[in-house]
Amino acid sequence: MGENNIILKIETLSKHFGALKAVDEVSFEVKRGEIVGLIGPNGAGKTTLTNLATGAFPKTAGKVIFKDLDISNLKPYQIARHGLTRTFQVVKPLIGMTVEENVLVGSLYGRDKRNTDMKNASKRAREIIKLVGLESKKDSSVSDITLPDLKKMEFARVLAMEPEVLFLDEVMAGLNPTEVEEASTLVRKVRQEKGLTIVYIEHIMRAVMGISDRIVVLHHGRKIVEGTPQKVVNDSAVIEAYLGKRYAKEVNNEG
């Protein structure tokens, strides 16, 4: 589909809240099967960008092209049905339902043109729950499980939608180092088995570096650098963004 197998194209996307430019003319492409890390300090515009791409916010300017289709003006549910989904920074479980029911909803709805009748959807949901390792908790109410399990549940839910592109919005937030390791392994495993394309949003460098093929760095709503993890980590603009001008000068002076 499309040249160079580009599945998602963000074209000069902007979102202004009055005078505040939360996202300022950001452009980048995502190839099918890639994991693209989207990083930047807090407030850089990563989540806003995600909201724009998935139709949750109306855009001020720019376009979002998914599988050669301009999805810029579609509603969130339509975009999800096309195969572009996201998880939430602050998990949004379907309260009052069990873990299994949550994943089932993802399986019933989600991308079009699959078997979305109850029987097949239930089967798919159970498989995904097994895949992420939540089988023992599947009948628990979402109000009764821990945060790491909630994140697993939301991950399972979005996987059950069988997306082609998935925005993972700061999945690591609130997890301890062991849980971060576990989550990273799970994401890698799932990516391999399902052939997903992932936009991986984080503001913790370490989590993103090991897993991404390419990285896009945002700062104050603008894209400041794009490239391999190696290139990005040594870029002075990035260092400046995260650690401030003085440190960047020091690093550069040291050569």
Partner: protein
């Protein structure tokens, strides 16, 4: 409700059979009381679908009751038979729910509830003032059935019973279906529901149209039963209040809730009325306050909690 599905079905069928034969043993007064209970159960199922399952409280839902009643009255006044007017009444109500629903269902919680009250009030005013068509504030009559009172009572008793069973069954099947999951997701987290590919507007409209359908049929039957209706009566805000109390007592989010609630509320009213004639308003008010504080999940909710807790306790014992 019970673990064994077959037991549940058996009990329900037994229950229905008992209800069918009950009128033989009851006075006309009680037959009428129970008919009204069935009717309220239907209206409450409609409200419960919207509020208990979907999280949108249509405080003014009685407007569909009134619409059903008046279309029936007007239609029969023009010579149509009841069975001919019934689909018209239902269709009108459904149309209203779709036309009014599309703009109003995107309002969040409080606003939606209030908007429905406003609509109900506006329709009431129109009915009160369109005297030529509706008979105005003084009400209008319907053709009286040419049979003995006893036969008439039984006829409407059975009709309301049938309506209650059909409504409850429909809601039950709907909730278990894929559509039902979509509806429940709206209450659970509407933003998440949208992001998962659920067309929430479509689901909201379907839910409200379903609720309007059954509520309007109840209104149609009521009009034919009473042979005389007035606007204040069929658009009365107390209908909404009663159904909310029924949902609270019965327990929201369960198909049995509205039925149990309707029975309990009706019996409570009978007791309160005869015991507290002069203070019945205060008694009703205080009763509501007590229920809201001590039994917020209603009867079915509290029982469900109790069953769950007992299961957890048993599970703990086993795993040790």
């Amino acid at each position: 409700m019970f673990k064994n599905k077959q037991v549940s079905i058996f009990l329900i069928i037994v229950g229905i059979i008992i209800f069918i034969f009950l009128p033989r043993f009851l006075s006309g007064y009680w037959v009428r009381v129970i008919t009204t209970i069935f009717m309220y159960a239907v209206i409450s199922q409609g409200m419960n679908l919207m509020s208990g399952y979907m999280g949108y409280l249509p405080f003014g839902n009685a407007m569909f009751f009134g619409v059903g009643a008046y279309i029936t009255a007007i239609g029969m006044g023009k010579g149509l038979s009841f069975l001919a007017v019934l689909p018209l009444a239902a269709l009108t109500a459904i149309l209203f729910s779709i036309l009014l629903g599309l703009p109003v269902l995107r309002l969040r919680g409080h606003y939606f509830a209030i908007a429905t009250i406003g609509m109900s009030g506006a329709i009431l005013s129109v009915v009160q003032n369109a005297t030529e068509i509706t008979g105005g504030a003084m009400g209008t009559t319907l053709p009286i059935i040419d049979k003995s009172p006893e036969v008439t009572y039984n006829y409407f008793y059975l009709a309301m019973l049938a309506l209650m069973v059909i409504t409850s069954l429909t809601v039950y099947l709907l909730i278990k279906s894929k559509l039902g999951f979509g509806i429940r997701s709206i209450k659970a987290n509407e933003e998440a529901a949208n992001s998962m590919g659920i067309n929430t507007t479509y689901h909201k409209v379907i839910a409200w149209a379903t609720s309007a359908l059954f509520t309007s049929i109840a209104g149609a039957l009521y009009a034919y039963w009473m042979s005389f209706i007035g606007p204040d009566e069929v658009f009365d805000i107390m209908i909404a209040v009663n159904t909310i109390v029924i949902m609270l007592i019965g327990g929201a989010g369960s198909v049995l809730g509205p039925i149990i609630g309707a029975f309990v509320v009706s019996l409570l009213s009978e007791v309160v009325w005869s015991a507290f004639l002069e203070y019945h308003l205060a008694a009703l008010g205080i009763t509501i306050i007590i229920i809201v504080f001590f039994v917020p999940k209603g009867i079915t909710g509290t029982i469900a909690d109790f069953i769950k807790k007992r299961e957890l306790r048993l599970r703990k014992k086993v795993s040790v």
